[in-house]
């Protein structure tokens, strides 16, 4: 009974997620998609959008709610890409240029939006939405009239035939298209090896000069795995395998499982033999069992077929993984803790000496910069920029995806982001086809997925406002009055 209760509570708490799981299963059942085609499409979309969705997390934790203003970050990315294409940048260098150009832009935009949000505390979300539309207007004004109209741009490929205004579509073929996705693994490993060697060398020299403890063991732990990989890449067979830019999902899982098993075995070995720990390492065995289970799944014929269809762009997924690990790490730093405090209670934050306005602006800057990188990743994968369209839906679909994963206006984790992307995009891929099969009209499915995106956001916002009010009432105080004492020190920036 208690288990049933728990399950019931879990389902009630994650109602949106559960509803989407059911929707996805139903859509899969009725659609003509097979598992391999679904997986192929799904993993393309995961690579495209995860970075963008992860860029939403920091403002949520800092109490700014869902950042509808990531559209502005996307705009920064598109400006940067336009400039790079205009000056003939291409390949990975072109991407680096785009990053170099969009970072200061995004920092500046993030600062502006953050400052604006400090003037509208409590209405940041509608403010972000409107600020996104406003920026879109300015962006269109610049791209349709200023460029060519006032600023002379000599690039017939990019401009409308009259010479005034940028074309609807910027084609990235031959310059930035999949420049991140197509980075060969061997180059990544080379770069990683040189980087870690340089870092270790610098640290050792620094510590020698300051006469500090060298901590060789720690350095080796980071250096050895990379060095072993690098050394292995010199074996001709391995090198040939690594010169490809993509990794079959099947291999990725096998490597992951092998890595996990080796790691656990090493830990067991270390605790049993080196530390002479008498306890049986139960958890480690469980982990190994799970890894074995995952490996076993790949032997199911349907799964095997699907997994051997999907090619992961390695560098893209590594970048996403890096951000995935960065955010929890960042939240444990001093600044991250400050953000958490500000997000929970601005009054407490102010009284403990945190500059609330500054922390909020930093959160907005980080989110905007990350969103601009996310848009670069997304656009280089798609290979074309819809000059006046690519940025518009970014906010809507990213936020909907995050909420589908079980996040709320105040709480969101990296895990929820990934789960949300998988579910939301599964629904997104299947809905048109399922609608066509079920109701004889593909358009219904297309409209349905837009409705689902808006509906999920509306429900999440309403639930948030509702629960906040309920919470305030049980305290016997309207929620807003709790915040009032914080006002005098806070309004210093006005």
């Amino acid at each position: 009974m208690s288990i049933l209760n728990k399950v019931g509570k879990y389902l009630a708490k994650n109602n949106v997620t559960v509803l989407f799981v059911i929707l996805c299963l139903l859509a899969y059942h009725y659609s003509t998609f097979t598992l391999p085609t679904l997986f192929e499409e799904l993993f393309i979309r995961i690579g495209r959008n995860t970075f963008l969705v992860l860029s939403l997390l920091i403002p949520i934790i800092a109490g700014l709610g869902l950042n509808f203003g990531i559209v502005i970050g996307a705009i920064a990315a598109q400006i940067a890409i336009f400039v790079v294409v205009l000056f003939g940048g291409s390949g990975f260098t072109g991407i680096l240029w785009a990053v170099a150009i969009c970072t200061p832009l995004a920092v500046f935009f993030g600062y502006l939006v953050g400052s604006l949000f400090n003037k509208m505390k409590g209405t940041e979300m509608i403010g972000g939405l409107v600020a996104g539309f406003f920026s879109d207007g300015i962006y269109q004004f610049i791209f349709l009239f200023m460029l060519g109209g006032v600023i002379v741009v000599n690039a017939p490929d990019l401009m409308i035939a009259t010479g005034v205004g940028v074309r609807n579509i910027i084609n990235l073929d031959g310059n930035l298209r999949q420049a991140i996705d197509n980075m060969p693994m061997i180059n990544i490993i080379d770069a990683a090896f040189y980087a870690i060697t340089a870092i270790c060398a610098i640290l050792i020299i620094f510590r020698l000069a300051k006469k500090r403890d060298l901590q060789i063991k720690k350095l080796l732990k980071a250096f050895l795995p990379v060095a072993i990989l690098w050394a292995a890449s010199w074996i001709p067979a391995v090198g040939a395998f690594m010169s490809a830019p993509r990794l079959l999902l099947l291999y990725a899982i096998e490597f992951g499982v092998a890595g996990a098993v080796i790691y656990q075995l090493w830990k067991i070995f270390a605790s049993k033999v080196l530390d002479k720990n008498p306890e049986l390492p139960k958890m480690r065995l469980v982990y190994m069992g799970v890894a074995g289970g995952v490996y076993a799944i790949t032997f199911i014929p349907a799964m095997y077929e699907a997994l051997s269809m999907v090619n992961l762009p390695v560098l893209t997924y590594l970048i996403i993984a890096a951000l995935y690990m960065f955010i929890p790490w960042f939240m444990n730093t001093k600044l991250g803790q400050d953000m958490r405090t500000v997000g929970q209670d601005r009054a407490v934050a102010t009284s403990s000496g945190i500059n609330v306005n500054k922390v909020r602006i930093i959160a907005m800057i980080m989110s905007t910069v990350l969103a601009s990188y996310g848009q670069i990743i997304s656009l280089q994968n798609i290979g074309t920029v819809a000059t006046y369209g690519s940025h518009i839906a970014v906010g809507l679909y990213s936020i909907a995806a995050l909420l589908v994963g079980g996040a709320s206006v105040q709480r969101a984790t990296t895990k929820q982001a990934v789960l949300g992307i998988v579910l939301f995009h599964t629904m997104f891929i299947l809905s048109a086809n399922a609608g066509a099969q079920l109701l004889g009209n593909a358009q219904i499915g297309e409209f349905f997925r837009v409705f689902a995106a808006y509906g999920v956001i509306a429900v999440a916002l309403a639930m948030h406002a509702w629960s906040r009010r309920k919470g305030g009432q049980t305290l016997g105080l309207p929620a807003a009055t709790v915040v009032v004492p914080a006002k005098p020190p806070e309004s210093g920036s006005k």
Binding site: F134, F141, I444, F447, L461
Partner: protein, 356 residues
């Protein structure tokens, strides 16, 4: 100097800028010799077209739910009413009547009020549960309704040849001509020409009548109670006013005005626009009333009259002027985005103390 500053402050800096911009545009139009009277006629027509939709903001703001970004819900009610009226005309119900156009618009209005009233009531109940976040919730509830009705327009059993796609394709058309129904029924009523300037007298009369009725309502006992509930809920509660009920009343009224507004809009435009057309309407409408000097907690009829005139005036005059300066492009649409969203941002940033 100080008195000028104070005057500017009380009028509001953005309004000074917008007014100056409007005058500048008119000057440019005169400079390019674009025919000011005809342009002014256009401005007046669009003033009447958007007027009632903007008027829908007044009960919403006064009852305390803030600018009603979800006015698209009322618009959908109005569209449903119009579609039913078309359907009834198609079945021949109005043939026997002396003036089928007038009957059709009245039927459209009645059904618009019924549907918008039902939607508005439910929407008001929802907004009572999300106090403090009405703006963002209403925006997304409005978006969701538009998206939901995108599906409904495909599925609803309308059969009139005017409304559905002729041969291929399913569901209702994206734009439906009102030429056989109530297109221009208000506009042509008592319309006259003043040189090049055509004045849609009937449309303006309907607009002013609605304004007068809303004003009358706000002066009535229940209207006063609603305003009290909006401006100071705690005080109103102490005085024995049921604040939640008043908010539902304000929301319902606002939604109904949205429904009436779109019927007036469509008859002037000559077409019903379905699917995503109402999606961003809420923003245009909210911006109009803010341009007129309203804030997110305070709005009067005067704000509606002034704001709609200025906002539509700029957009109307900007098109030919911009076409003279830059050969192509839809500057008007961009201008609408920048002005409407800029003014909303301004109002939000000023409302900090008020929303606390």
């Amino acid at each position: 100097m100080d008195s000028i500053k104070r005057a500017v402050n009380s009028f509001g800096l953005p309004r000074v800028i917008i007014l100056a911009f409007f005058v500048f545009l008119l000057g440019m139009a005169a400079f390019y010799d674009l025919g000011i009277p005809a342009l002014l006629g256009d401005v007046i027509r669009r003033w009447g077209m958007f007027g009632i939709l903007v008027l829908a903001m007044v009960p919403a703001i006064q009852s305390g739910i803030g600018p009603n970004f979800g006015v698209s819900i009322g618009i959908i009610g109005g569209l449903l009413g119009s579609l039913i009226s078309i359907e009834m005309r198609d079945m021949g119900y109005f043939e026997a009547t002396a003036n089928p156009e007038v009957v059709s618009v009245i039927i459209a209005l009645i059904f618009a009020i019924v549907f918008a009233g039902i939607f508005g009531f439910l929407y008001g109940l929802l907004l009572n549960r999300v106090k403090g976040s009405e703006m963002v919730v209403s925006t997304y509830v409005g978006f969701s309704m538009v998206a939901l009705f995108n599906i409904m327009w495909l599925l609803l059993p309308f059969r009139s040849g005017t409304s559905i796609w002729p041969i291929a394709g399913e569901g209702l058309r994206t734009t439906i001509s009102l030429a056989d129904d109530f297109g221009g029924v208000f506009n042509d009523l008592l319309a006259f020409e003043l040189g090049d300037m055509s004045v849609p007298t009937g449309l303006l009369l309907v607009f002013f009548l609605c304004c007068f009725l809303v004003w009358l309502f706000t002066q009535s006992r229940i209207g006063m109670m609603m305003r009290a509930a909006g401006s100071n809920p705690n005080f109103a509660r102490a005085a024995g006013i049921n604040v939640n009920k008043m908010r539902v009343l304000g929301t319902t009224l606002s939604t109904i005005l949205g429904g009436i507004g779109i019927v007036a809009f469509a008859q002037s435009f000559g077409f019903l626009q379905l699917y995503n057309a109402p999606l961003m309407m809420g923003f245009t409408v909210v911006a109009s009333v803010l341009v007129g000097g309203a804030s997110v907690v305070n709005a009067r009829i005067f704000n509606v009259l002034l704001g709609t005139f200025l906002f539509q005036g700029i957009l109307t005059v900007a098109i030919p002027v911009a076409n003279q300066m830059v050969p192509e492009g839809n500057l008007s649409e961009i201008l609408r985005m920048i002005i409407s969203n800029g003014i909303i941002l301004y109002a939000l940033s000023k409302s900090r103390e008020a929303t606390r």
